[in-house]
Amino acid sequence: MATESSESEEEGKITGGNQHLIVEDDLREMGKKAAWSVSSCKTGNGVSSLRDDNLETYWQSDGAQPHLVNIQFQKKVKLQLVVLYVDFKLDESYTPSKISIRAGDGFHNLKEIKTVELVKPTGWVYLSLSGNDPRETFVNTFMLQIVVLSNHLNGRDTHVRQIKVYGPRPNPIPHQPFQFTSREFITYSTVR
């Protein structure tokens, strides 16, 4: 995962960003199974630009702050990591500065789970959803909401170029409580 420069208990400041997206092998992108929506957008810069794997296109909001990106799943999923691509050099006053992540069952009971302040980010920014407890490695939820509370230089609207959401890879062998680690077990576990 990317290095995060400093992070205190509740609010963390993140400076810089990775040019490359490097994620651990046991994490899997979960966004394909979700319904994505945004609070507002400018024509031609809609929600699809957030998911098109193209860093040239971006979502531009078009309304009052805070700007929201809603990610809704059909069933509860374990999520571990949210990654955003934002670039101060390209977007300047459109670059988000304060971001909050909320989770819950639906719009009615979202609860904030993380707040982060970005300082001139230039690239992929990793926001881990884990708590300190090893039992809280994941957030098990129906819905995730990414809220852009404010932008750099007090801009009104925001640009976000890409968002990815990661959760743990499921056990390839269904209905096994634990995943297999040894070679012997894995060899016998599939027919190809």
Binding site: P172, S182, T187, Y188, S189, V191
Partner: protein, 720 residues
């Protein structure tokens, strides 16, 4: 002029001057449009990879031979209905039955297909390809029956034909019949090496001789010459001096084409030399300037006689007419005889009286000096040769049948009985490798396959299985190397693309893997394994819909492909459709009842369906079948835990711990058991070890949660 052109066309065909042959044949047909010439033209087209041309010219023709060629052209173009229509009424001959079997198999009429393959074997017991197909359909009888001693007289008859009733002509008969016979044997040999899907063209070439030969033979057997399957003989008397009949020439063509086609022989070294010598002899013959028509007429005479006594008189007459050419006929006989001798010596290698040396020239010399009459006395040699051949086929057939029914250990035993000459060939070693693969013994499979590759690096038949073995062993360097080698051999073989796909899949590049498998499918849509592998890739990418489609296509092609049944079962298990999953796993289990992995999954499904006793039974069977598979034991321990038999579960897990000490889930489960038994320190210990073995993040979370829960009761006890 016609005769000249026919000669030349045949010569060009034999020498693989295909364009020459096609052009001249077209001119021949234009000048002398007759159905015989049309058949010759069709042969030229089929040889030149133009089945569509053959199709057009032969459409509507009624002669049996034309219909046969038409059916072959249709099959190459995948026009099954037309091929079927062309072959009714059914001409005689094993190859025709075989073609019908293939047509019915490819159009989902399994029972009829089986019937026809069985007929093929009864007409011609050495038709290995038919036996192979029966094995693949799961309906083969025991090899001892199909290739048994009872068939030896049948095969012998095919050879000897009318040797008892003829003179010199009979001898030529005999030798030419035997060469015909050998043509057929060789073609069945080469069928052995070739999957009909990929190489039907070659087989067709070979089979050209088939029906005619067997037809001729059958005629002689039945000793009636009414409605001759070979309609060519009827105008024969008039043609004696002119047109050379296609059939016999084809035999010679076959003989030599077989020689040169030999991709993967079983007595390789010796035969390679025979190859060259046969060709040298052949070219010598051609260059000798002897009239080909004479040679052909001689052969034709023999064919005639095989038709029955009626024509004999005419042919005798014909023979005296051409007696001036006796020198050519002797040479011809000599040539046939020496090839015959060489062939017999190959087959009767183990116990033949003929010297099976590499000095072919001496044999040639020897033969030219021997009297023809002594040839007949070699019938004893023939008999022993045949019985040896049948013995060989029996062993091979038995081994192959066992393997197709997944009785791998028996198959391995049977193959061990082969002589080391036969064993150390690409095909056998690949089969051995496949047997080990089915036994989940990947190391031995790797060894067998690598030997096979050393011996015949051009054989791509089971190399897709080899690539899967390497995939399981996670040896990506070897796998990449294999794929590269296969590309160099044949870029258009589906096995190559399967290997490439496995490479990509091992590197977790599932998109490219899928593309490669789809290419394999494009190259040969009847290659079931490519479909199965595509299905696997879709499942890994969690596209279950497409995965189901792929598996179903694979099952459509080959219903005994238990991997596809397994794949479908897995999809339904993931989608929680447990009844479906159970059904599919059970199908897989029925096809391959000795696979402990399938049993394990069937047991898991039963466990989820809460049929714990059945699940337990299944796991126990799996453990008995394959003691090395740790998964059923682990599942058994889990089941015992749910049934409350904690100590037994612990015993099993202790055993497993010895076998695979680095598997974290064993310790995790043991921790659970100790927790249930309230032995908290032991539970802690085991959870700790489980964590040390670096399980996945999810499991880390679970184990840590379990540890937390352990500590709380501890604290509660302390506080009390």
């Amino acid at each position: 002029m016609e005769a000249l052109l026919v000669n030349y066309v045949e010569k060009s065909l034999e020498q693989y001057m295909r364009r020459n042959a096609v052009f001249l044949c077209e001119r021949l047909y234009a000048e002398f449009p007759s159905e015989v010439n049309l058949q010759l033209l069709a042969r030229c087209y089929l040889n030149n990879n133009q089945p569509h041309s053959a199709y057009y010219i032969l459409k509507g023709m009624q002669m049996a031979q034309s219909r046969y060629l038409f059916a072959i052209a249709c099959l190459e173009m995948d026009l099954f209905c037309e091929a079927e229509a062309a072959l009714l009424p059914v001409p005689n001959g094993a190859a025709v039955q075989y073609l019908l079997g293939i047509i019915y198999r490819d159009t989902d009429r399994k029972n009829k297909s089986i019937e026809h393959f069985r007929k093929t074997l009864s007409i011609d017991p050495m038709f290995w390809a038919a036996y192979e197909q029966l094995c693949m359909l799961g309906e083969a009888e025991e090899a001892a029956v199909c290739f048994g001693d009872a068939t030896v007289p049948c095969v012998q008859e095919h050879y000897l034909g009318n040797a008892s009733s003829c003179l010199q002509i009979a001898d030529t008969d005999h030798s030419s019949d035997s060469s015909q016979r050998f043509g057929l044997e060789y073609l069945s040999r080469s069928d052995l090496k070739q999957r009909e899907g990929n190489n039907i063209r070659v087989m067709c070439e070979n089979n050209h001789g088939g029906p005619i030969l067997t037809g001729a033979v059958r005629q002689s057997k039945n000793s009636c010459c009414s409605t001759s399957f070979l309609s060519t003989p009827s105008p024969v008397p008039t043609q004696l001096s002119d047109v050379a009949p296609p059939p016999l020439v084809r035999n010679i063509h076959l003989r030599q084409s077989e020689d040169s086609l030999r991709p993967n022989t079983q007595a390789r070294g010796k035969f390679a030399c025979d190859n060259e010598s046969a060709q040298i002899r052949g070219s010598l013959f051609f260059d000798s300037g002897l009239r080909r028509s004479a040679r052909l007429a001689v052969g034709h005479r023999s064919l005639n006689t095989s038709q029955g006594s009626e024509n004999k008189a005419k042919s005798l007459h014909a023979s005296t007419k051409l007696s001036s050419e006796t020198c050519s006929s002797t040479f011809y006989q000599g040539k046939l005889m020496e090839t015959y001798e060489v062939a017999v010596s190959e087959f009767g290698a183990t116990s033949s009286s003929l010297s099976s040396t590499t000095d072919v020239k001496s044999i040639q010399h020897e033969i030219e000096n021997t009297k023809l009459s002594s040839f007949i006395s070699d019938s004893a040699t023939i008999k022993s040769g045949i019985s040896n051949t049948m013995k060989l086929l029996r062993t091979l057939g038995e081994g192959y049948r066992h393997l197709c029914m997944f009785r791998c250990k028996e198959a391995l035993n049977v193959y061990q009985k082969l002589s080391s000459k036969q064993y150390n060939t690409g095909w056998i070693l690949s089969q051995v490798g496949k047997a080990y693969f089915e036994l989940v013994d990947y190391l031995n499979a790797d060894y067998a396959f690598s030997l096979a590759r050393q011996i015949s690096p051009y054989n791509l038949e089971e190399m897709d299985v080899y690539s899967t073995v390497l995939y399981h062993l996670k040896q990506d360097m070897k796998l990449k190397y294999l794929a590269q080698e296969m590309i160099l051999v044949d870029r258009f073989a589906p096995q190559t693309w399967c290997a490439i796909g496995n490479c990509y899949s091992l590197q977790k590049d599932h998109e490219s893997a899928l593309k490669s498998f789809q290419r394999a499918v494009q190259l040969n849509s009847r290659f079931a394994y490519a479909h199965t592998l595509s299905g696997h890739e879709y499942v890994i990418m969690e596209d279950y819909g497409k995965g189901v489609e792929c598996y179903q296509t694979s099952l459509h092609v080959d219903a005994r492909h238990y991997n596809s049944w397994y794949g479908l079962g897995m999809i339904y298990l993931c989608q929680e459709k447990f009844e479906f999953a159970e059904h599919h796993f059970r199908q897989a289990y029925q096809i391959n009842p000795l696979s402990s992995v399938i049993m394990y999954y069937l047991g898991t499904t039963l466990e989820v369906l809460k049929r714990s006793e059945e699940a337990l039974e299944m796991m126990e069977t799996a453990i008995v079948i394959d003691n090395k598979n740790p998964l059923p034991k682990y599942s058994k321990a889990k089941l015992l835990l749910t049934l409350g038999k904690l100590n037994e579960a612990l015993e099993i897990l202790e055993e497993l711990k010895e076998c695979t000490p680095r598997e974290s889930c064993i310790y995790a489960l043991m921790g659970e058991i100790y927790k249930r038994n309230k032995k908290y320190d032991k539970a802690m210990l085991h959870f700790g070890i489980a964590l040390d073995l670096k399980p996945s993040i999810v499991d880390v979370a679970k184990i840590e949660a379990a540890i937390e829960k352990l500590i709380i009761p501890d604290e509660m006890e302390e506080s009390l």
